[in-house]
């Protein structure tokens, strides 16, 4: 059996293909590189990975779980949030002029109106979530095209709060 996945790393996409050779012996291609591991599933859901080969590194234990649209893996004391290829960040301050709720929360105040010209780093919406205030910006300068959020409303993570039409430069 084999399993292929593609992830984003830096600005490029990387293809990762795991292939069961025999028993617990797996070959994994990461881009152009190739690795082999002996893999043992631990009772708690972790995997013990023993690299095979002459300059193989030390054995380690890995844990993984889906997280949002991506996959989170913890190995060697570090957690990595791996994103699917070419995934746009669906939340936070994006660069497409869409101001989205980075998480579920309550809109405290909308600080602009449709038609208003705004700067890239201008606070447009103040959101309250987890008892803290978050100032949201469009990330682009331009004109406010539409405002979907209203003061006091509860919004879901990823909801578009307002749209800024990028100014022609």
């Amino acid at each position: 059996m084999s399993l292929q996945r593609e992830f984003r790393r830096g600005d490029a996409n990387v293809e990762v293909r795991a292939e069961l050779l025999a028993g617990d012996h797996w070959r994994v291609r990461v881009g152009d590189a190739q690795y082999e591991f002996r893999v043992a599933a631990l009772g708690d859901g972790g995997l013990r990975l023993v690299p095979v080969g002459t300059d193989a590194g030390p054995a380690c234990v890995a844990y993984g779980a889906p997280a949002g649209k991506g996959f989170q893996v913890r190995v060697d004391g570090h957690t990595f949030m791996l994103q699917p290829p070419a995934a746009r960040r669906a939340d936070g301050d994006s660069k497409d002029g869409m101001v989205r709720a980075p998480m579920t929360g309550t809109v405290i105040t909308v600080l602009c109106r449709p038609g208003e010209r705004v700067a890239a780093d201008q606070t447009l919406v103040v959101l309250s979530a987890m008892k803290m205030e978050h100032k949201l910006t469009a990330g682009v300068a331009g004109t406010v095209q539409s405002v979907a959020a209203s003061d006091g409303s509860t919004v879901e993570q990823g909801a578009v709060l307002l749209v800024v039409q990028r100014a022609e430069t």
Binding site: L3, A33, L47, A67, V73, V75, F80, M130
Partner: protein
């Protein structure tokens, strides 16, 4: 000793409610959890003997609703209420309402809370007790007066919610032009968090350490200091790592700060647990900030170095016991060194973006000298309505250097998957040479952008591991790809869910 109460309601949620449940059970007291709608399977509900639904989701419509909490106590037959920290814990009106309802409030008497609960009255009490304070205003006479006072004190200043705590409703302001906006924003935060938007302005003492004294008083006029905790590693006045003893405090200073705190507590007739917070500048001069009239988040470090159980002591004190009996023959001098790290659902690498959502997998550190006070489990969906803290990782070791190594290792062993957490960030702090050397200041994190500059790109090993996890353990991860049959079934059941005999309270008459 007989149990001080028969049944106690915990007016809180998450890790602190779980920790209080443990303390109650150890003393043979029945515990009552209350919960909002999204919290009906929260760890504290599963840990308690009884659970009572408050309805609603926001703090205001659940854990902050005094009427609902008192109704829950009445319905469940609780004879006392432990407020935990945050929520109603420092609300004197709540403490009074509890007393009026014929119940016992596990905390300071409301008269002492009145005098210490707000920053402005605490300042006045401190001045009276000859405890040094930071120069600043004593009351809120409106925005214009606050701005004028700030200019007179000299910038930078701190704008603080009079009723505040936990860093909410508090801002440092360096420029005159920013004052009005900072006051307005702090007022909003304070209104939402404490239902009180009064502000004060203080000189910003800087550079400084945050050092606080744990106090314990009884109803008979006895007050003791359980020494200091250092909580200098903060972000936006939210503590990140705490420890005891402080690397900056020697025996003489410990004595002086402890004496000042005890003097203040005695002068207002304080009882039960409380914390006097101070700023300690580089010359060893300390300034009183405020009293947190409650159990603190970071109380475990004090418990570990003094060999006490503060929740037990709170309960005994509330039932009228004397400190002289409770602590008779006890050596309370700090022993060894304890560190606490607050594990939060947030991504420090991405502007501390909070991360609500499904925690798919949780595995907490264990080992010699490791304590975890947790409010989450595998499969728990972290709601967006409350504080982002998931658990507290606490270590105890013979000395600070060993405690640091132990904490680093314990953070390495702490696994929280499904949402972003600050675990790796905490480990970078603990591994920082300045942290290891005890060179701490309240701007420690701000001065080290490398701590939050983002995780390195995923290694080949990480990518390979991710695909192997999906290939070999598809059942747990819920991903397609077939299995090898090599895995046991998913192990996402928390110990709470395996507990037998949980009785959920029936609300129908």
């Amino acid at each position: 000793m007989a149990p001080p109460f028969r049944r106690v309601l915990i007016a809180n949620r998450g890790e602190i409610a779980v920790r209080i449940c443990r303390g109650l059970r150890e003393l043979g007291i029945e515990s009552v959890a209350v919960h909002s709608e999204v919290d009906r399977r929260c760890a504290h509900v599963l840990a308690a003997d009884l659970a009572f639904p408050l309805g609603g989701n926001t703090a205001a419509e659940s854990y902050l609703d005094i009427g609902k909490i008192l109704a829950a106590a009445k319905a469940t037959g609780a004879v006392a209420i432990h407020p935990g920290y945050g929520f109603l814990s420092e609300n004197a009106a709540f403490a009074r309402a509890v007393r009026t309802a014929g119940l016992t409030f596990i905390g300071p008497n409301p008269e002492a809370m009145d005098r210490l609960g707000s920053k402005q009255s605490a300042r006045a009490a401190a001045l009276q007790a000859a405890v040094p304070v930071v120069p600043g205003t004593d009351q809120d006479l409106g925005d214009a007066a606050l701005i004028a006072a700030a200019k007179q004190i000299g910038l930078p200043v701190m704008v603080k919610a009079s009723a505040g705590g936990g860093g909410r409703g508090m801002r440092a302001v360096a420029r005159e032009a920013d004052l009005a906006a900072a006051i307005a924003a702090s007022r909003r935060e304070a209104k939402a968090a404490f239902g009180d938007d009064r502000m004060i302005v203080e000189q910003a003492v800087f550079p400084a350490r945050h050092v606080e004294i744990q106090l314990l008083g009884d109803q008979h006029g006895n007050v003791v200091s359980l020494h200091e905790r250092e909580c200098s590693v903060q972000r936006r006045h939210q503590k990140v790592l705490e420890e005891s003893p402080s690397p900056a405090v020697d025996e003489l200073l410990r004595q002086r700060m402890g004496d000042a705190a005890v003097r203040l507590a005695r002068s207002v007739g304080y009882d039960n647990a409380g914390t006097a917070e101070f700023l300690l500048d580089e010359r060893g001069q300390f300034y009183f900030l405020e009293v947190n009239a409650r159990l603190q988040v970071e109380h475990p470090v004090t418990e570990l170095v003094t060999g006490t159980d503060l929740v037990h002591l709170q309960l005994h004190i509330a039932a009228g016991a004397r400190l002289t009996d409770l602590l008779a023959g006890r050596d309370l001098r700090p022993r060894g060194h304890a560190l606490e790290a607050r594990i939060c659902a947030e991504a420090p690498e991405q502007g501390y973006r909070p991360a609500a959502g499904l925690l798919r997998f949780v595995q907490q550190a264990t080992g010699p000298g490791v304590r975890v006070d947790s409010g989450v489990y595998s499969g728990w969906e972290v709601p967006p309505f409350y504080d982002s803290m998931l658990a507290k990782l606490v270590v105890h070791a013979p000395d600070r250097a060993t405690a640091c190594v132990r904490m680093s290792q314990a953070l390495r062993d702490s696994i929280y998957l499904g949402i972003d957490t600050n675990v790796d960030f905490l480990r970078r702090i603990v591994d920082d040479p300045d942290f290891r050397a005890g060179r701490l200041r309240t701007d420690f994190i701000d001065r080290k952008p490398q701590l939050t500059s983002g995780t390195a790109a995923a290694s080949d090993l990480a990518l390979a591991a991710a695909v192997l996890c999906q290939a070999v353990a598809p059942a747990r991860n819920g991903t397609a790809g077939g299995g090898t049959g090599a895995t046991a079934g998913p192990r996402t059941l928390a110990v709470w869910q395996q507990l037998p005999g949980l009785r959920l309270w029936q609300t129908t008459p």
